[in-house]
Amino acid sequence: MNSLAAASGALSPAVAAVLQLLALIAALALAYRPLGDHMARVYSSDRHLRVEKWIYKAIGADPHTEMRWPAYLRGVLAFSAVSLLFLYLLQRLQGSLPGSLGFASIDPDQAFNTAASFVANTNWQSYAGEQAMGHVVQTAGLAVQNFVSAAVGIAVAVALVRGFARSRTGELGNFWADLVRGTVRVLLPISVVGALVLVACGAIQNFSGIHEVGQFLGGHQQMNGGAVASQEVIKELGTNGGGYFNANSAHPFENPDGFTNLFEIFLILVIPFALTRTFGRLTGSLKQGYAILGTMAVIWIGFTVLMWAAEFGGHGRAFELAGGALEGKETRFGIGGSSLFAVATTLTSTGAVDSFHSSYTGLGGGLTMLGMQLGEIAPGGVGSGLYGMLIMAVIAVFLAGLMVGRTPEFLGKKIGTREIKLAACYILVTPALVLCFTAASLVLPTPPHSMLNSGAHGFSEILYAYTSGANNNGSAFAGLSADTPWFNTTIGLAMLLGRFVPMVFVLALAGSLAEQQPVPKTAGTLRTEKPLFSGLLVGTILIVAGLTYFPALALGPLAEGLAS
């Protein structure tokens, strides 16, 4: 043990960080085919498990009924609206519910914010978990939305993939079947195994409530018990991010050591990456799936390397004095593991944190923000990452088409006026929400009072909050005291509009594609499965996000980074 400690201590933190990234890539590569193929089978099979048949009977839905896009969308919206109301009421009634540790009901504005946040797969934490949410709200409310909001995201992505795969029909599958199968056959089995791995390493899983624990120097400390591991695993796997505790995945009961840290990053990334394989399988072009995967991987690895440069560099007066940017980071993860987590959580729609982004260096904090502003597509949230990336691919083939003067095609479907309009609307929704709400917050008299830090960093706190909300990320520059009626309400609205308005455009696009007759491939067709196209796609993503957000980033993190 001693010699092992001494030997590994000799490894420099940067080398250990690179080895962690390589191990992560290897693990993701191992899971890619089996999980991607499994999901392709799940969403195209005709068979039903017994438990699924019971659920369909309870719902009163026939899983074989094919839906056109408006019907599919109505299912998504009805289910999400009911979820929103249910979760809101559960929090408002907490004070009267048994099994709630005697915790009081949540105030209306915070209950709305939290309900919107979990239904929209955002999991912004306006609340501090350990002091506000009892067992019932955590397990029967928040954790359930962790599952189903993720299943809804995957369902919408699968509907878009069917739009590419099907022709002359307009039918996109059955929303209820997709929702139930995603939950029962994908999310639940992985969660059970993952939760036990986390418990074995030290995450807690009990219902002991708040209990006293003796302290070393005498006296007692009250600690929370709870179903933490079971919630932690789906929080990462479903790219949700709402922590059982205020400190989220930095809390030792949620994330006990260096291995669980890497395991949780793996859980965050595994479904979004594997969905590109599912996409390739269902459209009959595995190579196209690889091209999308390559695009995602290039951006993810690039961001990770830049983040390490920023954080190991440790610029900033306080960090230079301290001898390293360890403020807001845990000893067991260090700078390497924390940066890896920060990039994974902001390039997906997760928003779980194992270190606090507000205390990152100016440029490191800017990277977390830029990751979300790319639209969370590398690899993005479960489902939302794939459909976001496919929308960008539509834009990229359109740009390529303009260059050569041909009607663009993607996977044999013509990208005409209607398709481009829908894709453009999709791209405009989140930036409009982010920039308008940020501007309004700065102009109004009271919202700036919530800023902890002043100047460029204070501006970044507000920009980060709306970026995180509208992109359904949920992480925070937590210096902002966001539990005010203004922020609770406007961030709540940004989360709902940022989740469901883009889904309308995605499903409309899916419907329009599924109705088309495929066009035959000719010598002039752009080969979208080649590396050249992946390069074009990376460029399109950077240019679109850059042009949209550069002015705002220049006022915040860039100004701070250049000043330090």
Binding site: A5, Q215, F216, N224, A318, L321, E330, E560
Partner: protein
């Protein structure tokens, strides 16, 4: 009745039934099943990795504690009890502000930025305190010996660990206060240093509670 209204009502009913059945599955059966398995297979971890010393509970080995002297009159914050190894600062830790029938610690970070005057001052003060506290007979630490974790607050405020460098920095002070030799205390630090998992995951670290428990036992044996 209007057909669109009937359709909406039917759809809402289906959505509600879907939510309720999935709530039973994911919100009741799943956490109960995982709790049952966890309690059966890993009861120690599932219940919070409790640590006992001399037959009494001294905390969880995963949750950091403070090792302070009782608060004296006129002090805003208690002074550290220098007999024991000290953890990292925990500037982001707060007490609960709602449901105040409990006295909980709410985990969290300071969220201060690198150019924040408050953070700069906190780091300067912490550095001065670490230098002063760890000056022992025959040992004067240099400012460059102080690792970053000794003067920065962690993310959770409950970081159970310190870096091996910070533990070594405290050895002379702790040895003097406990009437032990520095060699013996150094041996304790080495025995409680955990390397990276498989040599590359995480960072090398020393669990402060486990180290202090071992220190207490060594001091009792004299």
């Amino acid at each position: 009745m209007n057909t669109s209204l009937t359709n909406t009502a039917r759809l809402t009913g289906a959505a509600l039934r879907a939510l309720l059945t999935l709530t039973v599955l994911c919100g009741v059966l799943y956490p109960l099943a995982v709790t049952g398995l966890a309690q059966g297979l890993f009861p120690h971890q599932a219940n919070g990795s409790a640590l006992r010393s001399n037959g009494k509970a001294v905390g969880s080995s995963l949750i950091g504690q403070r090792y302070d002297l009782p608060l004296k009159k006129g002090e805003a914050t208690p002074a550290p009890d220098l007999r024991w190894f000290q953890p990292r600062p925990s500037g982001g830790l707060t007490e609960n502000t709602v449901n105040t029938q409990y006295k909980l610690l709410v985990s969290g970070a300071t969220n201060r930025a690198g150019d924040s005057p408050d953070l700069i001052k906190a780091v300067e003060d912490a550095k001065a305190a670490v230098l002063a506290d760890n000056t022992a007979p025959g040992y004067t630490p240099k400012p460059s010996d102080i690792p970053a974790d000794a003067v920065t607050s962690s993310a959770s405020g409950m970081d159970p660990d310190i870096s091996p460098a910070y533990a070594r920095l405290q050895v002379h002070r702790v040895a003097a206060r406990n009437h032990l030799s520095a060699t013996e205390v150094n041996r304790l630090v080495a025995a409680h240093t955990t390397g990276r998992t498989l040599g590359f995951m995480g960072e090398p670290r020393v669990n402060v509670l486990e180290l202090n428990v071992a220190l207490g036992e060594a001091a009792r044996k004299g």
